[in-house]
């Protein structure tokens, strides 16, 4: 997988390393900005209220 990506990047090793770094940073940004905020409420840390019963009424 990573070998395949590396082979398909253009340029010499330094250019590829630079592009790889940019790709990694972009992926981390997308994860922190969009993916993790979506996934985090699925975990139990958000359940701090007692209105689950009221939530059903609402």
């Amino acid at each position: 997988m990573y070998g395949w990506i590396w082979r398909h990047l253009p340029g010499n090793a330094w250019v590829r390393a630079l592009i790889s770094l940019v790709l990694v940073l972009a992926i981390v940004y997308v994860l922190f900005q969009y993916v993790f905020p979506w996934a985090e409420p699925l975990l139990p840390f958000n359940d701090v209220t007692v209105d689950r019963g009221m939530g059903a009424v609402r």
């Binding site: 997988m1 994860l31 993790f36 139990p44 958000n46 701090v48 209220t49 007692v50 209105d51 019963g53």
Partner: protein
Amino acid sequence: MTARSRGAARSRAARPGAEGRAGRGRRPVTVARLVVRTFSEVCVTVGTLIVLFVVYVLFWTGVRADSAMDGEIGALQDRWSTGPLATASPDGAAGQPGGTGKRPRYENGKSFAVMYIPRFGADWSKPVLEGTGTDVLKKGLGHYDRTARLGGTGNFAVAGHRRTYGDPFKDFPELRPGDAVVLTDGTTWYTYRIDRRPYTTVPTDIGVIDPVPRKSGYNGPGRYLTLTTCEPEWGHSHRLIVWAHLDSTQPVERGRPSALTG
């Protein structure tokens, strides 16, 4: 991996037609290697994702929440300093708690008060926002929208994160009878006093935020405060509850209440 990949690429380039013939002969080995390598890479990737997610939950939500809470408190103080009487009704300014009726409703998702709990530290202060939605609780404590107003007759109920998003209620189990919970809405300081140790219940036990909270030991109408958070610390099977009653109020012109200064 670099040298190996480049070597592989070079050898393939050197023998353009050989791959098919040689590949067919070695297919089981090649396929097995490919499968093992891909599986390893997937495992490493998943592991990295999990580590990143833990960093996000433990660290990054706190960073974001702290700046959001500071922003909310700053905005509140700006609003109060520019027009301290804008949100107050005459009876509120006179220091009479619970002057209901004419006062504007709390706006959902907006902060309207700041809470101080000396037990959690002298510099512990968090904004209180209207509503208990997930987005609201990322920016501070959340006021249950069907419960009483701050200082009003009934039960002013507030929920907060115990863990993640700045850990506002991290030390919740350390609350003891007599501890002060101080709030201000820009015109009045409200000092509540906790009456008993934290009470553990189940999430569906909504009686704990009733106007006269069930099982609290209060047996008549009054000006109460309820705080709720999750129990156990990282779980969601139970809730931890603390009840307090309104002990004293004083207008902001008379300075901070003794519970904060003393």
